[in-house]
């Protein structure tokens, strides 16, 4: 920071005050601390999870260059460090969004109603692996996975069953589709069902995930579309939904699953933002105005164990996004510059050993998410390391959120940790490091390129190896696993939900569907879609048309694989 510019800055402390503080610090360091403490401090061995140096004591001197109005500001005002809304949780507490999805859509319908009746204000709809990866329940690839870890969805009939007796104009549905290739189909099924029930388009609220990184990097799979194809479909989804469904978020840039696959907090945010930047560039190239899509871009963060760093990450990410949208893309609509995000607590931090300990871990992470100013929250369930959440465990998670909101008082004031020397220092550090990470990816030619050439996969694998070695050698402590181990509490018998009948139910439904539909129409829709794959046109209208005529998810995905070809996941030896 140059001397001249700092003169005009509204720094919190004057140069004179800082001088006194620095002297005081020196004095404290040299005459109050023991020699051991001093040695420890000089060795620099205390680092955050992402490697930011931590001092024994942070003082105003660490944030001397921070200008309150420019760098921190007010909630609902740039640079949004203190939150995206002026009245934050007083106006709108974070959405209590818990996962639902197990077995057949009919089973999920009961779970969704259960969660809504216990006070959840939104639901995350999870799918089984065949649905996530774009296979029908009766495709051979689906064998053994139908209805596990999420709901099986093959056609609009399933979406209709999933939301039976639920007013689609009243809820906000987060449709966790993962891949762009399924995001161009499943939300289309949702819109079709909503239209059939007479729900106006502007009442349909929700989010779909739609992230090409999920297809090509975070999740592996037997059949993967090439990164540039997946990215094209991602942009098709954003473009189409922004134009037609004003309250639906067409993309959730997924830092969460990246982090779970293996990154630190800096890379988690940096990669997701690099994806958002490339998406914005592509939509501008297609002729859209930045303010036509940016307000509907949303993000998804992980909330991991390093309490203060995670809070700093949340605060910093809002500032980085504001500056990109405002300074670089010239967004005029303030909403374009607001980074809104959903948070899920870190599944990867939970243990199979002594699973009830996970209630404590998740509660602490949930508190950090709240202090970070998230817009909606999912708290992981204690049985995470055993199965998708059982009903009891899901209720504890929901109750944890309600305890944070109703009992702790932390939601009564905006961004309560602002002004902490440590938190502001970390926030400043995170901003710089995220900026650098985004820059690094852009210098490589953008995120699609960084995926194509396997850089991102190597980055993740390298991080994981480092992290795991720290767990193996005890440097990173995991209670009950590598410290404070006990023999008796090792594991618990956790009731696992099983839906062995899902396959036969889905199969029977697909058989009925194939009899009920107009095969001639199906053929026509498929041929049009096939042809359009080889044009620059947005494919969304054609997949919508197809699902309306009862074309199945598996059929559309198979068509994409045929037309676009497959890509080999890096790291395979």
């Amino acid at each position: 920071m140059s001397q001249e510019s700092s003169e005009n800055k509204a720094c919190i402390f004057s140069q004179e005050q800082l001088q006194v503080i620095r002297q005081g610090y020196e004095d404290w360091f040299n005459s109050v601390l023991t020699e051991g403490d001093r040695r420890d401090e000089i060795s620099g061995k205390y680092l955050t999870h992402s490697g930011i140096p931590i001092k024994l004591l942070h003082t105003p001197a660490d944030v001397a260059h921070v200008d309150y109005t420019q760098d921190v500001g007010f909630p609902g005002r740039p640079p949004y460090v203190r939150g995206v809304y002026p009245n934050m949780y007083r106006g709108r507490p974070f959405t209590l969004r818990q996962l639902a999805g197990l077995g057949a859509p009919e089973d999920c319908n009961l779970r969704v109603k259960y969660l809504l009746s216990h006070g959840a204000t939104g639901v995350n709809i999870l799918f089984d692996l065949p649905t996530i990866r774009g296979y029908n329940s009766d495709d051979p690839e689906a064998e053994g996975n139908v209805g596990h870890c999420g709901a099986a969805v093959d056609s609009i009939w399933d979406i209709d069953a999933f939301f039976k007796d639920i007013d689609l104009g009243q809820i906000s549905a987060s449709i966790v589709t993962h891949l762009p290739s399924t995001s161009i189909v499943i939300p289309g099924m949702y819109f079709t069902v909503a239209a059939q029930r007479g729900v106006p388009r502007d009442k349909i609220a929700g989010t779909c995930q739609n992230d090409f990184i999920m297809e090509t990097c975070v999740g592996s799979g037997p059949e993967i579309l090439p990164p540039e194809v997946s990215f094209r479909l991602q942009c098709d989804v954003v473009e189409h939904i922004c134009k037609h469904y004003p309250r639906f978020n067409p993309i959730s840039f997924n830092g969460y699953n990246l982090r779970e696959a293996g990154t630190d907090a800096v890379a988690e945010v940096g990669i997701a933002i690099a994806n958002a930047v490339q998406t914005a560039e592509e939509l501008l190239r297609r002729g859209m105005d930045v303010d036509a899509f940016a307000p509907r871009m949303s993000f998804f963060w992980d909330l991991h164990n390093d309490f203060f760093e995670e809070i700093a990450k949340c605060r910093a990410s809002r500032k980085v996004w504001y500056r990109i949208m405002h300074d670089r893309f010239g967004a005029k609509n303030p909403k374009s510059c607001l980074m809104r995000f959903h948070i899920q607590t870190a599944g990867v931090s939970l243990t199979a050993t002594e699973p009830l300990n996970n209630v404590a871990r998740s509660a602490i992470q949930g508190l950090a998410a709240t202090l970070g100013g998230c817009q909606s929250l999912h708290i992981d369930s204690y049985d995470e390391a055993y199965s998708a959440p059982t009903e009891d465990a899901a209720l504890v998670s929901l109750r944890t959120q309600q305890i944070i909101q109703s009992e702790t008082g932390v939601i009564n004031t905006a961004d309560p940790l602002a002004g902490s020397y440590y938190v502001e220092y970390l926030t400043d550090q995170m901003v710089q490091r995220i900026d650098d990470y985004v820059k690094k990816i852009e210098e490589m030619g953008g995120l699609v390129r960084a995926v194509e050439n396997g850089w991102l996969h190597r980055e993740i694998a390298g991080y994981n190896l480092k992290y795991q070695k720290k767990i193996e050698n005890g440097e990173m402590k995991v209670v009950g696993v590598n410290v404070f181990r006990s023999e008796e509490g090792k594991s618990r018998d956790i009731e696992v939900y099983e839906y062995p009948e899902t396959y036969s139910r889905q199969k029977a439904k697909l058989d009925r569907l194939r009899k009920a539909r107009d095969e001639q129409k199906v053929k026509e829709c498929m041929q049009v879609l096939r042809d359009k794959c080889h044009t620059d046109e947005n494919l969304y209208p054609y997949t919508m048309e197809a699902v309306g005529h009862l074309v199945t998810l598996g059929e559309i995905e198979a068509l994409f694989r045929e037309e676009f070809g497959l890509w080999t996941f890096p790291l395979i030896s």
Binding site: G144, N145, A385, L465, Q468, S491
Partner: protein, 130 residues
């Protein structure tokens, strides 16, 4: 000198979580084993890879709930192909109550979350007779 222990590691079927399987592969490699990671594969393809690679151990990873179906199917297909010598290890998110069924079905060992790498390495060394 005997040849290093050879391990074929696979992600079972559609399961998307590759962090664990790739990590274990790296640790086994560092422990001196000859490791081939074949990515996401279905039972028939895993057996095919095993026929080509002639491993001592096949490691199957799943967090996707297909351990009882595709996991046991892989064991059966390996036996049918005459590869009785190959020991099958499984890892991932597997409910404890399913473990006896897997062991009865011919899986050699099942390692859940939190298992130290050392345990896995020792387990494979013992199983491969070294």
């Amino acid at each position: 000198m005997s040849r290093p222990i050879k391990v074929v590691m696979a992600k079972l079927g559609l399961d998307i979580h590759w962090r664990g399987v790739y990590l274990v592969s790296q640790f086994l490699r560092d422990a001196g084993m000859d490791v081939v990671y074949i990515g996401n594969k279905f039972p028939e393809q895993i057996v095919e890879a095993a026929m080509q690679e002639d491993p001592d151990v096949v490691g199957l990873s799943t967090l996707g709930g297909n351990h009882l179906t595709l996991g046991l199917k892989t064991v059966t297909l390996l036996r049918e192909a005459g590869m009785d010598r190959v020991k099958v290890f499984m890892g991932g998110v597997i409910p404890p109550k399913h473990i006896p069924q897997l062991l009865d079905g011919g899986v050699h060992k099942v390692y859940g979350p939190d298992t130290p790498m050392e345990t896995i390495i020792r387990g494979i060394n013992e199983a491969a007779g070294q």
